[in-house]
């Protein structure tokens, strides 16, 4: 199979992987992340990822809309946003934001040819994702014992559906990142294959921006109404 020729950002030729660098595995096929001429002039994998992210916008848009539709219309005297622990959720939100930083640092490390930076930051990102999931498990457990759950009212159903779906996305992201991390430990990832990390990064950052919206719309706004004495 013909090898793709790797270029840097200015279009200059890059050294090929696997020649004199035992840290980087060469599979001997097109390992340039699929960067060969395409009808659009853009990398097909990247186009696919952005299209997937666009479809995810619609999924989360619908889930958030559902929550907003029932928010403030729940059964009286049933648990709701008054149970939210905003300082605790703020820390979770920042954990996820910081994981986005570690993700871009992993990509920057790889693009600079620094395998150590790549492995450290990939692992940190996955670990922060696990911290976030642990926090969400604790939060869900607390709500459950406070009688706020999926079957208590419409608000509970929409809240757990939305945050549960987000948690499922974080779980997929963590598995993906850990797989990449293990791959980088075993084989190394050549700089010209940085698309592997960039694509996973796009997914991870999207999960982060969804949480930015959820934090404001689902947590802060309903809680502020309670703090402010209703509507």
């Amino acid at each position: 199979m013909a090898r793709a020729i790797a270029h840097d950002e200015q279009g200059r030729l890059l050294p090929q992987a696997g020649h004199g660098d035992s840290d980087i595995h060469d599979h001997g096929h097109d390992d340039h992340g699929g960067e060969h001429p395409t009808s659009t002039g853009l990398n097909n994998v990247k186009v696919l990822m952005w299209t997937f992210i666009a479809s995810e916008c619609l999924l989360f848009g619908s889930l958030i809309s559902t929550y907003l539709a029932v928010e403030g219309r729940t059964i009286p005297n049933t648990p709701g946003p008054e149970l939210f622990d905003i300082p605790y959720t703020s820390v979770s939100a920042f954990v996820l934001l910081f994981s986005s930083l570690s993700m871009v640092l992993a990509l920057a490390g790889l693009q600079a040819g620094d395998q150590r930076q790549l492995r450290i930051w990939l692992f940190v990102t996955a670990a922060l994702g696990l911290v976030f999931l642990g926090g969400q498990y604790y939060e869900f457990s607390t709500f459950y014992f406070e009688e706020f759950w999926l079957d208590k009212n419409f608000l509970g159903s929409s809240f757990f559906l939305l945050t549960g779906f987000h948690g499922a996305h974080v779980t997929v992201g963590v598995i993906w990142l850990l797989a990449l991390w293990l791959y980088s430990l075993r084989y190394g990832i050549a700089p010209e294959k940085s698309l592997l990390v960039e694509i996973s990064g796009l997914y991870w950052h999207f999960v982060d921006v969804v949480w930015i919206v959820i934090f404001a719309v689902v947590y802060l706004i309903p809680y502020s109404r309670i703090e402010g004495g209703g509507h």
Binding site: T38, G41, I53, A54, C57, L68, S90, F98, L202, A216
Partner: protein, 122 residues
């Protein structure tokens, strides 16, 4: 600049259709962005507690602007992460159009649902 087809931006920048690579910010820039995001997140929480903690100090006027404040702060964080961490600011504008179109539909649906269920009419 004429951009009649996807990838025209990348081609114009790199002189080749095979490269949608782009100049990414440096790690130092990424860290500065994280600090900004941290400050905004702290601001969101502080803003939440201002009205309830300062009723005796005449700051209850802040309550009505809370929701717009949260939405604006979240929008700023959203744009920063999408623009810099997802590199949409530096990538080909085709990706921005794909994402922006989906976002527009999602926002339209959300607005329509809120208006419908909360009795807001034009």
């Amino acid at each position: 600049m004429s951009r009649d087809y996807p990838g025209a931006d990348a081609e114009a920048r790199h002189g080749s259709t095979a490269h949608d690579a782009h100049a990414h910010p440096t790690p130092a820039t990424y860290i500065k962005i994280a600090v900004i995001l941290l400050i905004i997140t702290i601001a969101e929480v502080v803003v939440l507690y201002i009205p309830s903690e300062t009723e005796g100090f005449g700051l209850t006027w802040f309550q009505p602007v809370l929701i717009p404040a949260f939405l604006i702060l979240a929008a700023i964080k959203f744009v920063i992460v999408v623009g810099y961490y997802m590199h949409l600011k530096f990538d080909d504008s085709f990706f921005l159009r794909v994402f922006g179109f989906a976002l527009l539909i999602a926002l339209t649906i959300a607005t329509a649902v809120i208006a419908l269920f909360h009795g807001i009419s034009l």
